[in-house]
Symmetry: C2
């Protein structure tokens, strides 16, 4: 099974694409740039969704749903936003088809042209703030803490499964506040929540920080991001939380009466994570045998494979296996017993390795005699044999251990691939030969940032939060710098 | 609060619209025909989704996600389907906007015209069967039991919140089978599942049956539906399950090798329920005070309102209220304690009646002295006072009782509004004066069906399943009939 995968070290991009397809996560569809998320991939996304949704609700957010379409004119209302989002997008111009005159097909009915074109939402700030206008009159109506799970469309020219697709699934939070401080606090709460999710559930350590002006969200005052390091040394932006100031409130004229009776524009934030996280999950942990899923997001946490000849052996093994299955399920684990007679154990082993199932149990006739069972961990590929009556507690313990190990391995990788660099030569050599996160001084100018990008393809991933503000000289221009920032090539 | 609602008996349509808006379920958006589902409405939909999703998974289905867009040519592949679905739809013709020449806005870039227009999915059979073609080669790949939660768009001219909107949310199941029998069985499994959900969760009794050829899904061999009776005597189709035969497999050339090595076209089904169910929920149970939500779908099942003067009274009441809240929550109930000091108890009572909260608890200082609490049921509007230490168990019991009572009341209403009719005069009088479900003989012809519809607006809602096949004469034509069918005016 694993033979069908391109090796990671031979061609990382091809390895990624192979793995996404062969592990049944997703595939390209007949529509350019749009993917089909297959059941196994969707099951992982559902688990991620459920956990994120719990975290949103625990922090006081509620879900709602806003229209798929946005009138074209709405985009023109916020100057930066229109530049960032209203360009490469899907435009609905007509609302009817008719039979072709030649009778052979259907065609757009020219009589059914929309007066104003509709844009398939690339992000929903505009339609939501146009709605909030009617919901907010007084400070009593604030804060509004609303999230939406939705599909969005951005017409990307070069697409890659999960990482960059024309249509993708995401959640977008849009909150409204009475004060600047409260909105800033919300922005931070959410980036912390995203970091928590990435680390505790996805098993991926992330850097938290601000984006530079060049990299921030079109329409934001500040963008916080979490950045993860992939195994090829490139960074992946895994979530963003934007402090929007009063920009959208002003664009859509959303004002409220504060406690003192004064009319003020509302302060706002927006934030989102998307199916791009699936790409991060694959690239952060996968190996040449396939996916390595953290137990906290694995649709199947334990698989049990019987090793048998003939039905009577299978019957006796199945009895034991099903007992273990129900014991594990009683402990809250999701377990699959794979007794298909169409495939051999070796094939099944490879299949579940490919699919990243954290723990595999195998039982043969000798195990039944000896009261033992074989365990194989996906993360370490190590095997051991233990007594059957110990397996339930041990598997529960292993889930925690595997989750932690996956995270620690990722953290170790990031540590090993983070460099402090003080000269331009070293910077170039580092970014070209080693990749990784480069901590370097930057003079804070957009020009320098742009030049570094042009010369090396490296961008500023984050301006770290809570940095010790060590002063220095810009690695490129030699001008004074207030703190190191993190550069990397990025997805 | 209830004074703001139009009375149901004065103008049912207006009452419905008022209620949806004032109970904060949904509102019209800036985009014609598209609604905003507000947090309270969305919370109900989320509960319905979660329960349906559990039922789908318990019957072996998995979720996946297919593209929002469908190439225009796909619709032309199934002859009936194109007539039914590819007409009134949103058509994407361009993929880019540009700044207007006058610099004042943005406009569609004529250079970014798509070679083939994309249709925003009105339903996904075509794109899904085009995908299944690559997934199915052998009988071993079958059955495929896949569901998707998604938004769809049908360009409706006259829209009504939840009941008929251009964009709506739904789930669509698309299954593939090796045999006709298995696909037919699936169709029935699902319509039974929908009926179970409607009755046990929504508290709405439904009639199950076939659709006539005129009313069935475009592309189906048979459509099963569940039909519910609203309080104005009109029927509402609440879910459909289609046996598609080999139509889509043939249109998209999806064949498999069966066990004997023979190449066969795959058999299929599709089925869906949508946010239309929200409209049914409102119309089936609501009254002139507002919504009446069944506990199984109510986002807030119990609300506790303190009745107090001054902070010291509030403190002592809050202590008791929060204790009750946590006891109820420990029993799995969702509880809100509303201690807002901005609104009087009477206002709150009316608000939670409007929002259909099944059970309201009120505690004042005298209750604290006496160790009592007042309960008010939303379904019966009855009140009683009981000992505080009994309230948890009683509330749990009441949830079940209220759920059953809501269903029984609906069932009683349906029984009172179901008529067996044997003459055309009686039919017309019944449908015009009383509405409801009319059981009448029909000769089975599309012509008769059409004439009855033109003369009375009544349509055949279902051809009941498991009818006793009582023979008779068509109420309209006098020709022989094999069984009674159910007529009604419908949403």
């Amino acid at each position: 099974m694993a033979d069908f995968l391109t090796k990671k070290e031979d061609n990382y991009a091809q390895w990624y694409n192979d793995l996404v397809i062969k592990a049944d996560l997703a595939e390209n569809s007949a529509v350019r740039g749009c993917m089909v998320i297959k059941p196994y991939g969707y099951a992982i996304w559902e688990k991620a969704q459920a956990e994120l949704d719990k975290l949103f609700k625990a922090t006081g957010h509620v879900n709602a749903y806003f229209p798929l379409f946005i009138p074209k004119s709405f985009f023109a209302k916020e100057a930066d936003h229109v530049e960032g989002f209203a360009k490469e997008c899907a435009v609905v111009t007509h609302y009817r088809l008719k039979n072709s005159e030649d009778g052979k097909g259907i065609e757009v009915d020219p009589d059914a042209k929309l007066e104003e074109e509709l844009i398939v939402r690339p992000t929903s700030e505009t339609i939501i703030w146009n709605t909030y206008k009617n919901w907010i009159q007084s400070y009593r109506d604030l804060p509004l803490l609303i999230n939406q799970w939705a599909n969005v469309v951005r017409w990307e020219m070069r697409t890659r499964l999960f990482l960059r697709t024309a249509e993708f699934l995401w959640q977008e939070g849009h909150t409204a506040h009475a004060t600047r401080e409260e909105a800033e606090e919300e922005t931070k709460t959410i980036i912390d929540l995203y970091a928590y999710f990435a680390e505790k559930f996805m098993g991926i350590p992330v850097l938290k920080g601000f984006k530079s002006d060049a990299e921030k969200f079109a329409g934001a005052i500040d963008t916080y991001a979490i950045e993860a390091l992939m195994q090829d040394g490139k960074a992946l932006q895994a979530g963003t939380s934007h402090f929007l100031g009063q920009n959208f409130a002003k664009a859509f004229d959303v004002q409220f009466t504060d406690k003192s009776g004064k009319l003020e524009h509302v302060w706002s934030t927006s934030w989102g994570v998307s199916t791009r996280l699936m790409g991060a999950l694959v690239m952060a942990h996968g190996d040449n045998n396939g996916l390595v899923l953290p137990p906290n997001l694995a649709p199947i946490q334990v698989v049990i494979v019987p090793i048998y000849k003939g039905n009577s052996q299978l019957d006796s093994i199945s009895q034991t296996a099903l007992k273990i299955k129900s014991e594990l399920e009683a402990k809250g684990l999701s377990v699959k017993y794979d007794d298909r007679d169409t495939h051999k154990p070796g094939f099944k082993f490879a299949e579940y390795e490919l699919k990243g199932v954290p723990l595999r149990l195998a039982i043969g006739p000798r195990d039944i005699e000896n009261g033992t069972i074989e365990l194989a961990r996906r993360d370490t590929l190590s095997k051991e044999t233990i007594a059957i009556d110990k397996v339930t507690d041990y598997a529960v313990k292993l889930m925690k251990e595997i989750q932690e190990n996956i995270y620690n391995k990722s953290l170790q990788f990031r540590n090993d691939n983070s460099y402090t660099v003080d000269s331009w030569e070293e910077f170039k050599e580092s970014i070209n030969n080693r990749g990784g996160f480069i901590y370097a001084h930057w003079d804070g100018s957009a020009e320098t940032e742009e030049r570094i990008k042009n010369e090396t393809k490296a961008t500023i991933r984050v301006i770290p939060v809570g940095n010790n503000n060590e002063e220095g000289k810009c690695v490129y221009s030699g001008k004074p710098s207030k703190q190191r920032v993190v550069f990397a090539k990025a997805y």
